[in-house]
């Protein structure tokens, strides 16, 4: 039997402890490793930017790689873009393994032995937003006012200072989020307000209700703009405004989906139903108006239909789901919602400039490989999601498997790199927005997760749940960034303001809460 070393004496132990306390082990990159060959790929398209370049391992930090890539891309000094680098293992038996390069190549890839300096490393890059949203951390206001549960909420696309909520007390209210006070009460509906939506220019609010009508309100004054839009025979489930750059000037249109299995397109000014899209056999529970003039609807009859918004004809039927389709998200949702309002806060002067700005923003966001691509993701009761590219094919791009219960809500990140899905299995899951590959599961909620919303810079995600909390997640690390308890009951609705300043939430405890950093 080999001799056993005696356990360290007390003196030895204290010495080791002392040493450890005094000097933290510095993580340094050995200087004798030579260089490594790196090839950059665009995450959005999957194509290489050029041939592999040789980089000294000692200098292969994210900062330096960013500079290198900016140079390779030919970006000017004043328009440098921050990038995020990921490594996807090409090993087929361990597919789906994606590694985020956190600080440098050595510690992420070489030290764990995933790659050697002999190999060529394929790095996928995603451009990041040039601005940064801080995680909300505290409740700045809890405003009572609604007499019943809050069912829907939406921030104004202009900035974070106004928000509208729809409630079970058959009113909608506009809130001043800077001071935490109510601005206007929108009275008129005779039953629960199920859907609220700001128009892309932020001047009008549409509300859909259990009483089968849609009403339009002036967002500034809170006055009703004319009579209610009547026509549906059952309650309204979802609303979608025509994207700003497609609107005929002065004639914005609105699509409303209803339980009566139709979608109506209204001319908001003349209060007439322009077109009725009938074709679904079950309750339509989500409608989205795409930036290329298509309307996407999902229904309880398991299908997703794509319509032409001008003529109202059916273009495509996407059927793959095995159960009712709960929710749809477009990759361009965020730009369409905010139209010409960008992070700089500059608003163009004239109407034509506004349209041009909105169009430019949309095209910039949606263009992949010189082609406008609008991806669609659908969440369903069959526990799966599908990623579609309706323009190119009626077959799904990918099937997103992993949830263990119904998937209730799905959303694209503003930069289109991620998809987040919230399910009744208490988890939020993150997926790659390009190919639908699973990235990570965000665990922490102890009740069904109802809704989730990305911050404008796509670095954070907030989710609302039955367990009375909101949770803010760091998308990059997949970790909980902030836990926000405070609501006294289920949180039904959550929204992150387009400028990233505030988060608004409401639920069964009848109080609207505004969260900020």
């Amino acid at each position: 039997m080999a001799t056993l070393l005696p356990p360290p004496s007390k003196r030895q132990k204290t010495e080791i402890a002392e040493k450890a306390r005094l000097q933290q082990e510095i993580e340094s990159i050995p200087s004798d490793l030579g260089s490594i060959r790196v090839q950059f790929f665009d995450q959005a398209t999957g194509s290489a930017t050029g041939p592999a370049v040789s980089v000294p391992v000692g200098d292969a930090t994210v900062k330096n790689l960013e500079t290198l890539l900016n140079t390779l891309q030919g970006n000017d000094d004043d328009e440098r873009v921050p990038y995020r680098f990921t490594y996807q293992s090409d090993n087929k038996d361990k597919d789906g393994q994606t590694i985020d390069i956190l600080a440098d190549l050595y510690h992420s890839l070489l030290k764990p032995g995933l790659k050697t300096t002999e190999d060529t490393v394929h790095l996928y890059f995603t451009p990041q937003a040039v601005f940064r949203v801080k995680a909300v951390s505290r409740c700045s206001a809890s405003i009572a006012g609604h007499g019943e549960a809050i069912l829907a909420t939406s921030f104004s696309p202009i900035n974070s200072s106004t928000m509208v909520t729809g409630s079970g007390d058959s009113t909608a209210r506009i809130w001043d989020c800077d001071t935490g006070t109510p601005l206007h009460t929108l009275k008129g509906h005779t039953s629960w307000v199920l859907a609220v939506s700001y128009s892309p220019n932020g001047l009008m609010i549409a509300t859909g209700s259990m009483d089968n009508t849609v009403r339009i309100w002036d967002a500034k004054t809170g006055q009703a703009l004319g009579a209610p839009l009547k026509g549906h025979s059952k309650w309204i489930t979802s609303l979608a405004w025509e994207p700003y750059h497609l609107q005929q000037s002065g004639h914005p249109r609105l699509a409303s989906a209803s339980k009566d299995s139709t979608v109506r397109i209204w001319d908001v000014i003349s209060k007439r139903a322009d077109i009725v899209l009938s074709g679904h056999k079950g309750s339509v529970n989500c409608v989205r108006w795409g930036g290329t003039g298509k309307i996407y609807t999902s229904s309880h009859d398991r299908s997703i239909k794509v319509w032409n918004s001008q003529t109202g004809t059916l273009i495509q039927t996407l059927s793959a789901h095995a159960h009712r389709v709960n929710h749809l998200a477009l990759s361009t949702d965020f730009v369409l919602r905010t139209a010409y309002h960008d992070h700089t806060g500059k608003i163009p002067e004239s109407d034509s400039e506004k349209v041009a700005a909105a169009k430019k923003r949309f095209e910039q966001a949606a263009t992949i490989n010189n082609k406008i691509v609008e991806k669609l993701v659908s969440a369903s009761d069959d526990f799966t999601m599908y990623l579609w590219d309706p323009e190119s094919s009626s077959k799904p791009v990918a099937r997103l498997l992993g949830h263990q219960k119904e998937v209730n809500h799905v959303t694209f990140s503003p930069d289109m790199a991620y998809i987040a899905s919230a399910g009744f299995d208490n988890h939020v899951k993150l997926w790659n927005g390009r190919d639908g590959k699973f990235i990570t599961t965000l665990r922490g909620h102890v009740g069904a997760v109802y809704q989730c919303c990305f911050s404008a810079d796509s670095r954070l995600l907030v989710s609302s749940s039955k367990d009375t909390t909101l949770k803010v997640w760091n998308v990059r690390t997949g970790k909980l960034s902030m836990d926000l308890p405070g609501h006294k009951d289920e949180v039904f609705a959550v929204d992150w303001s387009p400028d990233g300043q505030k988060v608004g939430s409401g639920g069964k405890d009848k109080a609207v809460r505004i969260w900020r950093n």
Binding site: E148, L151, N408, D489
Partner: protein, 261 residues
């Protein structure tokens, strides 16, 4: 390990016999043959008892089959939208609302301050020590001093309890009178759920009884409510809640309790 679970421990340590599943399957398969043999061959009182038992079993079986059939029938009536406002995405879903209603009712109640310290049974009849304890006087020494007691009431004994050596064991809590579960009712929702008991919080009779875990009428017990999905204000799953025993378990053979809200 609880003292009496030696079989479970053995299975954990050594696993099951290799032919365990087969033996179980065969035993089940033989069951019908055994029943028919008994039904034909038993005579006299044993036959009578057997038929009684079989009769009760058959009633249960028929009930179960009927319930199963009813479950499979699709109801054609459109689901009425609920009274409480719900967001669009929850409207057409049938939900198990019982436990949830329970939790929110509890929360509503808690905001009323006066209700905080009130219990449903504020007063109980006293129980004398003579009634509670039986003197054990087996053996010469024990008989001489008569220091050993047997508790004559139902008790709750924690999972990790191990009996002390006989010489030091002053109180005996009989196995047959131990309870692990209570039928807990929510007073307003009229929902009754069987929940595991976690501990005895207070026996109004005597602090000693609290220590011994005696379950009498009016005893406040802590029950495990984790499966009800009640959430604390911090967003964690609540699992212990207090309840008060409302029946006399020593007479009824079960523990009924009402949740303190």
């Amino acid at each position: 390990m609880p003292q009496n679970e030696y079989i479970e421990r053995w299975t954990k340590q050594h696993g099951k016999r290799l032919d365990h599943d087969e033996r179980v399957r065969k035993r089940e398969a033989r069951e019908a043959h055994k029943q028919s043999k008994d039904a034909q061959n038993l005579r006299g009182l044993r036959a009578k008892l057997y038929q009684q038992k079989r009769h009760a079993e058959k009633i249960q079986m028929r009930k179960r089959i009927k319930a199963q059939e009813e479950k499979n029938v699709k109801s054609s009536a459109p689901s009425e939208p609920s009274k409480t406002p719900l967001p669009q995405y929850l409207l057409d879903r049938s939900q198990a609302t019982n436990a949830k209603a329970l939790s929110s009712a509890i929360k509503d109640k808690r905001t009323e301050k006066a209700a905080k310290f009130a219990v449903p049974l504020p007063k109980v009849k006293g129980i004398s020590e003579e009634e509670m304890f039986k003197v054990v006087n087996t053996g010469k020494k024990t008989h001489k001093k008569s220091w050993k007691r047997m508790i004559t009431k139902p008790t709750f004994v924690g999972n990790d309890f191990t009996r002390r050596p006989v010489k030091y064991e002053r109180f005996i809590r009989p196995m047959g009178l131990r309870y692990k579960k209570a039928n807990v009712t929510h007073p307003e929702m009229a929902v009754t759920v069987q929940l595991p008991i976690l501990s005895v919080k207070k026996n109004p009779q005597n602090p000693l009884y609290t220590q011994l875990g005696v379950l009498t009428k009016g005893t406040v017990i802590e029950v495990n409510v984790s499966e009800l999905g009640i959430v604390t204000s911090g967003g964690k799953v609540a699992w212990g809640k207090y309840a008060q025993v409302t029946n006399t378990p020593e007479n009824d053979g079960c523990v009924n309790a009402v949740l303190l809200v």
